[in-house]
Amino acid sequence: MTAETAEPAVRTDRSAREDVPPERGRGSGLPAAGFLAPFLLLYLLFIIGPGLYGLIMSFFDTSAVKPGLSGFAGFGNYAEALQSGDFWSSLWHTLWFTILTTPPLIIVAFLLALLADRVKHGRWFFRLAFFAPYILPSAVVALIWIWLYTPGLGLIETALGKIGVTAPNWLGDPNWAMPSLALTTLWWTLGFNFVLYLAGLQEIPRDLYEASSMDGASPWQQIRSITIPMLGRTTTLVAVLQVIASLKVFDQMYIMTSGGPNFATRSILQYVYDQGFTNFRIGYASAVSMLFFLVVLAVSAVWFALVRRQEKEV
């Protein structure tokens, strides 16, 4: 969960880098190292150190309630995870969530940014309105949506009932639970991608639009031939950050469904949590974390390579 709270900071950092093209001189290694030292120290202390410790623990039967590493397990924990149906199903749930959330979070954010950019008056209001949910803590978002989805009394069910539609059992039906969580996440985190797109839109030189409209280009042609290509770099950034953020899903599922109904929404991170903190099997949980780390690494690398190549083609 530490990673989750640190995430927005990392994101802003990257987006800032995106907006300001690098124009640094070379040399002066020592002062640079001095400036980097505090960050490196913290990075070593809280990321590299625990990461390595986790890697070591994954080869032992480490227990949360016994001191020391306990017995050496070799690749036993890894073998157990790869043979466990629960491991594979929770890994699939995380991937399924990523598949469900990534496209709408990119497309809807882009469309809303486009609309907000066109607004002549009160643009600040739309910017705030779309971004506001993003600053809410996960627990607040979860509580709001639990009540919206509540069977029998929920706002959505009541509203749909008024127009004669029978609402599904949002969080209670194993087939609907994941799409319901994806919808909540869309509302909650859309704002971040929206702001990135809005910034990207404002960077596009206005004269391009002026020139094209003199040539008789329709608004649709302008969007297709100017806006989308000019936003290529933003889209790459948004897509990569979004895939990583979606793969890290934990909070909203843990709070809203606790992984249910009947484990239909248990994410891989909750599986790690269940094994490590509830069953006290820290060694096994570390092995699962390492496997998941490899998956994130692989997915990000492939995804990054794909969008990068596409960007170059454009």
């Binding site: 309630v65 627990a139 509580l143 509540t150 069977p151 209670g172 109904p261 269940d274």
Partner: protein
């Protein structure tokens, strides 16, 4: 709405408590003088009553600085308690469910309570209800002092039941001691409420489905685990009977097939259901909501001559600490005794007191509806022994999720039993981490 606000406040209190624990470790001189750290997991009405009891203790012992911390219920609480004890920074006294305490004892995290120390504070076995006292012993030794028994009970709306003709001339509910009578009562109540007969939380809920299943299954004499959790011994015939019965309730429409915990409370509080099945602790909710209700033992649907009901007990224990000062132990026992002496306050929240001096008193017997179900304490069936079992444990999450899916009509009893056996066998065959 009261319910939401309360759970929100509960969450805020837990969050504040987390902050407090974070700081406590940094306060210099924490160990010196008459300080006492106490951890518990009580939210809602229980939290309010516990705060009253702590204030009484503070008033009676001005020399002792009591630092009480409330943490989120369930697994997060036990994780924190275990890790704090392992890190040699445990509280002096902690609450633990009886069914979770044993695993902590096996992990070596709990101090044994010696009879002579206990006797100095008047804490002897004969002063406690025998079921929670006996169930709490580990290899014959005492590690925890039971505060109560909290059984699964039946709440019923007195107005609805009267209109449905379910009350006798003295106003008592006629016994629902066969599956037919039970279903029939719910059906009659439904005709009055026009909504539901009875409600059981199913959606996004695991503990409640487990509790109702376990109550009925143990009435049939069924067992889930054996050999300290190393063997899964589900009885297909009995489990199937219970699951089919539960599925029948939602299928016939006398109980909703999708309703979450808060929703089940809301519909009973609003008179949309004649019956509500849950632990007795929800008593305060309905008193606040001014629902016309009473409470009684969960019906003996399958038991015949022998009654059984799912329950757990809150216990107070002393987490292990190296080089323990005997004075600290003494102070902890003084605190435990004070909590027991305030059993009346605790019983108002619905719990059946374990402390016999109060439980046998006329005062408790006059307390209704609390004393109506006092007999549940002696018929209490605790969760089976096993390192992964107990209140809020992975055992309850697995069984509860699967039972809920049957009640929601998402899978058949037979496939649910197969799934339960499969998932539990995974845990049973894993080497215990304690």
């Amino acid at each position: 709405m009261t319910v939401t606000r309360r759970s929100l406040l509960g969450g805020a209190a837990a969050a504040a408590a987390l902050g407090l624990t974070g700081c406590a470790g940094l306060t210099p001189g924490r160990r010196s003088g008459g300080s006492l750290d106490y951890w518990n997991l009580f939210g809602g009405g229980d939290g309010v009553r516990m705060a009253q009891m702590l204030d009484t203790f503070r008033a009676a012992n001005p020399g002792i600085t009591l630092d009480a911390v409330t943490l989120a219920w369930g697994n997060p609480y036990y994780t924190k308690l275990s890790l704090a004890t392992l890190g040699d920074k445990p509280p002096d006294v902690a609450v633990a469910h009886l069914t979770r305490m044993t695993t902590m004892v096996e992990a070596g995290l709990v101090e044994e309570l010696h009879a002579d120390d206990l006797a100095r504070h008047g804490l002897t076995a004969d002063k406690f209800a025998s079921r929670p006292w006996q169930a709490g012993l580990v290899e014959g030794r005492t590690y925890a002092i039971p505060l109560d028994t909290h059984p699964f009970v039946m709440f019923y709306n007195t107005d609805v039941c009267e209109k449905a003709g379910l009350l006798d001339s003295s106003g008592a509910l006629s016994p629902l001691d066969t599956p037919e009578k039970f279903t029939d009562a719910l059906r009659k109540a439904k005709e009055v409420t026009k909504a539901y007969g009875g409600v059981v939380a199913i959606t996004n809920e695991t503990a409640t489905p487990w509790r109702i299943f376990q109550s009925l299954y143990s009435q049939l004499g069924g067992e889930m685990l054996a050999d300290q959790g190393r063997k899964v011994v589900i009885d297909d015939g009995r489990a199937n009977r219970v699951l089919s019965f539960l599925q029948g309730l939602t299928r016939s429409g006398v109980a909703p097939a999708s309703i979450d915990y808060q929703g089940s409370i809301a519909s009973f509080a609003n008179g949309q259901a004649g019956f509500f099945f849950q632990g007795e602790w929800e008593i305060s909710t309905f008193q606040t909501a001014k629902t016309p209700f009473s409470m009684t033992l969960f019906p003996n649907v399958f038991g015949g001559g022998k009654y059984a009901v799912q329950a757990d007990s809150h216990t107070l224990l002393i987490p292990r600490q190296p080089d323990r000062d005997p004075e600290r132990t003494d102070r902890a026992l003084l605190f435990i005794r004070s909590m027991l002496d305030q059993s009346k306050t605790w019983a108002e929240g619905g719990h059946v007191p374990a402390w016999l001096p109060f439980r046998d008193s006329a005062e408790y017997k006059a307390m209704t509806p609390q004393s109506n179900y006092a007999a549940a304490a002696d018929a209490a069936v605790y969760d089976p022994a096993g390192w992964y079992s107990g209140s809020g444990s992975n055992f309850e999450i697995i069984t509860g999720s699967i039972i809920a899916s049957v009640m929601a009509g998402q899978q058949s009893p037979a496939s649910a039993i197969a799934q339960m056996r499969d998932k539990l066998t995974n845990l049973a065959t894993t080497a215990p981490p304690v």
